[in-house]
């Protein structure tokens, strides 16, 4: 498998074999990471261009490059860069590419990653372009689930929270369907998974998809409970929001009925939707999930640099 020089813009552009390859490689990087890392990227430089704030994605990209023995330069917000003086993205990329070997970028505008890839001579890894795509999040989610169960096919995964607007759940549901996992979508009526996605998952990939309200019945039945945050601003009526918030909170009482071996995941940051008491239960996987961002991004960086 040769991914050298390839841009990572969205998961749709990667074949099943390429995704499998990255997940497999990430296992090796995780092992090396636990021993302090490697020197695969010695002499190489990652530019970490974060035009909008991020904690986990930016730091795990930078950590990944350090763990590979490479150097990192970049910025954590657009303020203070030429962008704030009015420079367009294409010019910024053409400038930065001459200082580095690979670019990891987050940008608030949808489609910015594709534009960056069009003008850049070094590979671009998309760290999130507006509401469009965040492929490394989905890859680390797949990695986490696969590590837990040794497979994706035949698993039952519940996605809950804001399924209407959530970029993460849209992308993850398509990826899970590609690899043969069945799904339950549990959300308030106002935030249901868009119909075009639901019908595509069933029609194109032939997986089972159920929609449910509330979580009580759901946790008895699934291998993974993937939780996302419900934002207050989605509800014009504050009372309705309070009601919904309670029905989709994961706590020890809910988990008392959970299927044996079920894991709880969350892309983080979590606010109230998983109570802190859950952190110390055998169900919690969200911090391990955040950790997994490092080996997965190590695998991607090494692969596009052709040093894996």
């Amino acid at each position: 498998m040769d991914l050298k020089g390839q841009d990572i813009i969205s998961l749709e552009r990667l074949s099943d074999e390429e995704i499998e390859y990255i997940l497999k490689k990430a296992e090796g990087h995780e092992a090396s990471l636990r021993k302090g890392g490697s020197a695969l990227c010695k002499g190489k430089v990652l530019a970490s261009l974060f035009f909008e704030p991020s904690t986990r994605t930016r730091l795990s990209f930078e950590s990944a490059m350090h763990r590979l023995g490479g150097g990192v330069l970049g910025f954590a917000e657009a303020k203070g860069t030429s962008t704030s003086k009015g420079e367009n993205l294409a010019d910024s990329i053409r400038t930065v590419e001459s200082y580095c070997d690979v670019i990891a970028m987050r940008h608030p505008v949808e489609g910015s990653a594709k534009l960056a890839a069009q003008v850049s001579n070094v590979p671009i890894i998309n760290g999130g372009d507006g509401a469009h795509s965040h492929p490394t999040q989905t890859l680390l989610d797949l990695y986490t689930i696969r590590k837990e169960f040794g497979k994706l096919k035949g698993l039952k995964v519940a996605l809950t929270g804001d399924l209407k607007y959530g970029r993460t759940v849209h992308s993850l549901s398509k990826a899970l369907a590609r690899f043969g996992a069945d799904m339950i979508f549990a959300s308030p009526d106002e935030l249901r998974m868009p119909k075009d996605i639901t019908s595509k998952l069933q029609g194109k990939y032939g997986v089972n998809v159920e929609e449910k309200a509330g979580l009580v019945d759901v946790v008895k039945d699934v291998d993974v409970l993937y939780v996302t945050r419900i934002q207050k601003e989605r509800f014009p009526d504050p009372e309705e929001y309070e009601k919904v918030k309670g029905a989709y909170r994961v706590d020890n009482e809910l988990l008392a009925n959970a299927k044996k071996g079920m894991v709880v995941m969350h892309p983080l940051p979590r606010v109230y939707e998983i109570t802190q008491e859950v952190d110390s239960t055998p169900y919690a996987r969200y911090f391990q999930q955040a950790f997994n961002g490092v080996p997965v991004r190590m695998a991607l960086i090494a692969a596009v640099l052709g040093v894996d």
Binding site: N88, P108, K114
Partner: protein, 153 residues
């Protein structure tokens, strides 16, 4: 059979035939034809075709359509035919077909798409479905349905 022609034959130019009834005025807009257009343009609306369907026809004198114009036409009138006329004869006849990808034809409806910013980028769309017409922006992934497409026609 009625032998009399509603609009006389043109010497040189383009005849766009088999347009869906009611689409002729959109076609004029797509082609940028208004009162300032220097050539003669004939528009026939709601005529009954040989297949007994109601159709529109547009005849433009002294003009051949560019491939981009044909692509735009395909968005509102798939199945129309473009006849190139030289010296009163049809020298070329093409059916308007929808390409797999439309480049530089429409603007993305998503205001937060990179193609709507101050960037050197050409908008492009993948055709997801031809009937009904559904396009997807290759940059931001936004779906453009028939209504959004018609807004720009």
């Amino acid at each position: 059979m009625e032998k009399e022609l509603r609009v006389k034959k043109i010497k040189d130019g383009t005849v766009i035939d088999h347009l869906p009834a009611g689409s002729a005025l959109y076609v004029l807009r797509i082609l940028g034809i208004d009162k300032n257009y220097g050539e003669t343009v004939s528009v026939v609306m709601n005529v009954v075709s040989k297949s007994a369907k109601v159709k529109d026809v547009v005849k433009i004198e002294n003009r051949a359509l560019s491939p981009e114009e044909s692509n735009r036409l395909a968005l509102i009138a798939p199945g129309a035919t473009i006849n190139i006329i030289k010296d009163y004869e049809v020298v070329e006849k093409n059916k308007v077909t929808v390409p797999e990808e439309l480049v530089n034809t429409l603007r993305c409806a998503n205001p937060n798409c990179i193609t709507n910013q101050n960037e050197p980028v050409i908008p492009s769309f993948r055709v997801e479905s031809k009937d009904p017409m559904i396009l997807r922006c290759t940059f931001c992934g936004r779906i453009m349905d028939k209504e959004l497409i018609a807004e720009q026609a």
